[in-house]
Amino acid sequence: MLESLSRRAFVRGVGAGLAGTALGFGGSEQALAAEVRPFRLSRALQTRNTCPYCSVGCGVIMYARGDGSKNARRELIHIEGDPDHPTNRGTLCPKGAALLDFVKAPTRTKHPMYRAPGTNEFKQVSWDWALDRIARLMKDDRDKNFIAKNAEGVTVNRWISTGFLAASATTNETAFMTYKAVRSAGMVVFDNQARV
């Protein structure tokens, strides 16, 4: 066994070399090596993701350029439908096909923005501020408009003066938690991924 190991090399293990050298085409490999010396390798990544637009949840493959080193920023260069994804088999709708521009749009919302009543422009606010404000307004509205019983005196526990539009393209778990939180508050006007 040891003898046969030393005698043979598995093709996979030896790395590429030109078998042609052994067949009498010597020199080709050295010439090629000299030819390619000035060139460099570039590295790209492909990453699977889910299109964020709607609750169909099409699979996408995102192409990024970058050497992967810690400080280098990757640059997204292309997005296409994932041919292996059972939902869309490589296809995308016009919105999904334009995802690259969506990601790179200069007008893309990257922070919570707030437009106060009576003003005409948005200003950037912190997440803490935004969440506190949303919670405050929801609580006030629910306290004021919650319907515990209907005209016949039957318990209904509904809150119809506020609606909730939650994320599409989320996981089952996120959809479940959203449902739990929103429905247990009595909210009726509600849509998210769990509908489909």
Binding site: V14, A22, L23, F25, L41, A44, D82, P83
Partner: protein, 302 residues
């Protein structure tokens, strides 16, 4: 004037809700496979590798000349292998198979008219004259293990083995083939040589790994190592500025790479011919931590 009512409008089904799923395996058409490969070897024969690529074009032509008429495998044995999740072509059994030996001899004979260097011609003559040597090289080729003392003989025998395995694979029931493991051909259990991203009807953008020996193509999900099956740590390397559609798909898990060819954009790409022709990429990858994982006897490194 006719009193007959106008015919009712009819609508043909337009296939809403039907799913186009890529076939799991595509079997080779041996004669077309080797003839196409010869054409591609000739087309790529430029630059430093031109003499070798021209020689391989002639080898592929010789392969094409003896690719027809290879007997099919025993149906019962094939069914038994498939029932047990084994590849139907038994490589071990073929080491001492008379049919395999006949095909390899026919191929070596067919190489008679090929202009080749003296070393190669001597290796060919030795394989034809010495039965034990030929049987040993066939066994090496079936194991993808290069015999260091007779590399030239190994390459020629491996080319003959490709012809026989492609012929056997062509007669298998494609629809019954099933995955036999990561990095293993569903027909012969061998490793892939390269993979192709294709633009075929019903399989747009799907990826197929191509068996280095029998030429069978099997569907492998993209962004996944074709050897170890890892889906994380996959990257794509190419020579900066190149537009040939050939990249090295590297895997951080197993540390190997297999070339992936964008046949959807470059339909002329051949998994064997362009693998040799793009050896520059291998030389560049040789400067990294990754080692070559795709098998190609014409690139059997020394």
């Amino acid at each position: 004037m006719s009193t007959e009512p106008p015919p009712r409008p009819s609508f043909s089904p337009i296939g809403i809700g039907t799913e186009s799923r890529a076939p799991f395996a595509l079997l080779p058409d041996p004669v077309a496979l080797f003839e196409g490969r010869a054409t591609r070897f000739r087309a790529t024969a430029e630059g430093a590798l031109a003499p070798y690529l021209s020689f391989l074009a002639a080898v592929a032509e010789a392969q094409g000349r003896c690719a027809g008429g290879i007997a099919m495998l025993d149906e019962e044995a094939v069914a038994r292998s498939l029932a047990h999740g084994m590849p139907p072509i038994d490589r071990q059994g073929l080491k001492h198979d008379a049919g395999m030996d006949v095909t390899v001899r026919r191929f070596l004979d067919a190489c008679g008219g090929v202009v080749m260097p003296e070393v190669a011609e001597a290796a060919r003559a030795a394989l034809l004259a010495d039965n034990a040597r030929r049987h040993a090289r066939i066994a090496d080729a079936l194991e993808d293990a290069v015999a260091m003392e007779d590399v030239a003989g190994f390459v020629l025998a491996a080319a003959g083995v490709q012809v026989h395995l492609a012929g056997l694979a062509a007669g298998l029931p494609a629809a019954k083939l099933a995955p036999v493991g990561d990095g293993a051909c569903p027909c012969c259990g061998g490793p892939p040589g390269a993979s192709l991203v294709v633009a075929r009807d019903g399989a747009q953008g799907a990826r197929f790994a191509v068996c280095a020996a029998c030429g069978t193509e099997w569907n492998v999900v993209r962004v996944k190592c074709t050897l170890c099956g890892a889906t994380g740590g996959i990257a794509y390397h190419e020579i900066e500025g190149s537009t040939d559609g050939i990249q090295a798909e590297t895997c951080d898990s197993c540390g190997l790479y297999v070339k992936i060819m964008a046949q959807e954009r470059h339909p002329e790409l051949d998994p064997v011919a362009d693998d040799v022709a793009s050896m520059a990429l291998d030389l560049k990858l040789g400067e990294t931590v990754f080692r070559r994982g795709g098998v190609n006897p014409f690139l059997a490194g020394m």
